[in-house]
């Protein structure tokens, strides 16, 4: 059965519709990426899956007793909270030092066990988060913009680790991201989101879809430049905002 099944999901904050009628299925072992501009509902989708936000409409079904490895966008490590890497790794894992070292080795940062979390570099920090998510051998990894703040080589290296993890453990991966190219090349399936599902399919299919080009046209032409999203685009298929409101 599917690990995650999202049916007809709408999420509404006050009067703002973050997601409207989204369908999504994640099967064991596949890497699915959700791309979309800021405010397209990527994070809302992920939050609905982990139960942090309740749907206005539709359902989120998780496989019973599913083991989720979650890699958050950021953690509030201010300097007032002392936390060694080792202690952080063992926050949700009671397996002892040996498995902690092994998990950190997998992502190439086993030498920083005794360092403070607040003093790690961006790349080290994300790797530790990934190692912590992987230590309990999850069936699915959820990554929420996990490479924010990393440069392109850094993100590429990070996604290679994610691919390795999938290879070694067979876990599925659902990630949301801005880094279109890096992420898409590593994915089995891409879902392009903008409040609703604009288009979905293999990376090649999505990259050549007109809806995708409309959303990210500027980016694909100038990959390395700083980019801005165009929010004023139109779609042919309509999603009736008032209707989903009335459905509540």
């Amino acid at each position: 059965m599917s690990l995650i099944e999202v049916k007809n999901l709408s999420v509404i904050y006050g009067s703002r519709i973050a997601l409207s009628k989204v369908d999504l299925k994640i099967e064991p072992g596949e890497i699915v990426t959700v791309v979309g501009p800021n405010g397209s509902g990527k994070t809302s989708l992920l939050r609905a899956i982990i139960g942090a936000t309740s749907p206005a409409e539709g359902v989120v079904k998780l496989k019973p007793d599913i083991k989720i490895g979650y890699v958050p966008q950021r953690l509030n490590f201010n300097s007032s909270l002392p936390m060694t890497v080792k202690r952080f790794m063992q926050l949700t894992h009671k397996g002892g030092d040996k498995s902690t070292i092994m998990a950190l080795e997998e992502v190439g940062v086993s030498s920083i066990m005794t360092q403070q979390m607040s003093q790690l570099s961006g790349g080290q920090f994300q790797r530790v988060l990934l190692a912590r998510a992987l230590i309990n051998t999850p069936e699915i990894l959820l990554l929420d913009e996990a490479t924010q703040g990393l440069d392109q080589p850094g993100s590429a290296a990070f996604y290679r680790l994610v691919e390795d993890a999938r290879q070694n453990t067979g876990c599925a991966v659902l990630m949301i991201s801005h880094d279109l190219h890096v992420v898409m090349s590593a994915s089995d399936r891409v879902i392009c989101l903008n409040g609703h599902v604009c288009c979905a399919g293999t990376p090649e299919v999505v990259a050549s879809a007109p809806e995708y080009k409309q959303l990210f046209g500027m980016v694909t032409e100038r990959t390395l430049a700083l980019y801005q999203h165009r929010h004023d685009h139109d779609h042919d298929h309509d999603h009736d905002i008032n209707k989903s409101h009335a459905d509540q």
Binding site: L75, P82, M83
Partner: protein, 260 residues
């Protein structure tokens, strides 16, 4: 004197670990609000002639719960806390002024009256402190996780709302317990200063919590002794010792990091 010492130690052991969460989650003003509201509870219990502890506890828990609810709804929390803290303090003081029949030493509630701790007070203080300590230890991991990131907490199968409510209610409880020891105006000091002092020595959250408890307890004992010798008010003397710990540990800490 021994009872006073025991009361201070009991409070410190619970306030240290709980205070760490206040520091980590930047809830200092939150604590102030609850503690100021407690004076309203004191006034009401004087008026209704019920136990001060019970009155303060009820009002503190009520305000704690209310603030938590409002913050969930996304109100501009800083302003809201400011309004609640000072209006409840003011209302409390006004109510007290109406109680003409009884001569009330307000100072005792604002700054504590640890030397007058009775056997029953001591029982209440240790009971409340133990309850806080047990709950903090029991919910330690979920509380830490919600402090790091709420979604992280959801994904690990904990409801962050429940843990946040727990922290707030524990703050209400510790405030009610601490009125006799340091008074409503200095309770937050016993939460924050030992924790902040412990931060300089700790490398994990657990050591910070334990050290905060120890620093608080030593401050209570030394402060009481100093108050006795120098004839100074007990509650403020305890806080002064804790502040000295904070200062010295920070100076030593920055010297160390300067050297290395």
């Amino acid at each position: 004197m021994i009872r006073a010492g025991l009361a201070g130690i009991g409070l410190a052991f619970a306030a240290g670990p709980l205070g760490c969460f206040v520091v980590w989650r930047r809830m200092a003003y939150f604590g102030e609000t609850i503690s100021h509201a407690a004076i309203l509870g004191v006034a009401l219990s004087l008026m209704l002639q019920v136990s001060i502890f019970a009155g303060a506890l009820v009002v503190a828990l009520l305000i704690a719960w209310m603030v938590n609810l409002l913050s969930e709804r996304g109100y501009a929390i800083d302003t809201l806390l400011g309004v609640l803290a000072h209006s409840s303090l003011a209302v409390g003081l006004v109510v007290v002024s109406f109680l003409s029949g009884i001569r009330i030493d307000l100072m005792a509630y604002l700054f504590g009256d640890i030397l007058a701790v009775s056997r029953l007070d001591l029982f209440i203080i240790w009971g409340g402190a133990l309850l806080v300590l047990i709950l903090v230890v029991w919910r330690w991991s979920p509380l830490l996780m919600v402090t790091l990131n709420e979604d992280f907490s959801y994904a690990s199968g904990f409801n962050p709302k429940r843990e946040k409510l727990l922290i707030t209610l524990l703050l209400g409880l510790i405030v009610a317990v601490a009125i006799k020891v340091v008074g409503v105006l200095l309770i937050v000091a016993m939460l924050i200063i030992p924790a902040a002092a412990a931060r300089t020595l700790a490398r994990t959250p657990e050591t910070m919590a334990i050290l905060a408890g120890i620093i608080g307890a030593v401050s209570a004992v030394v402060g009481l002794r100093a108050a006795f010798v120098l004839d100074t008010p007990a509650g403020p003397s305890i806080v002064c010792v804790a502040a000295t710990f904070f200062l010295v540990l920070n100076i030593v800490g920055s010297f160390k990091s300067f050297q290395s």
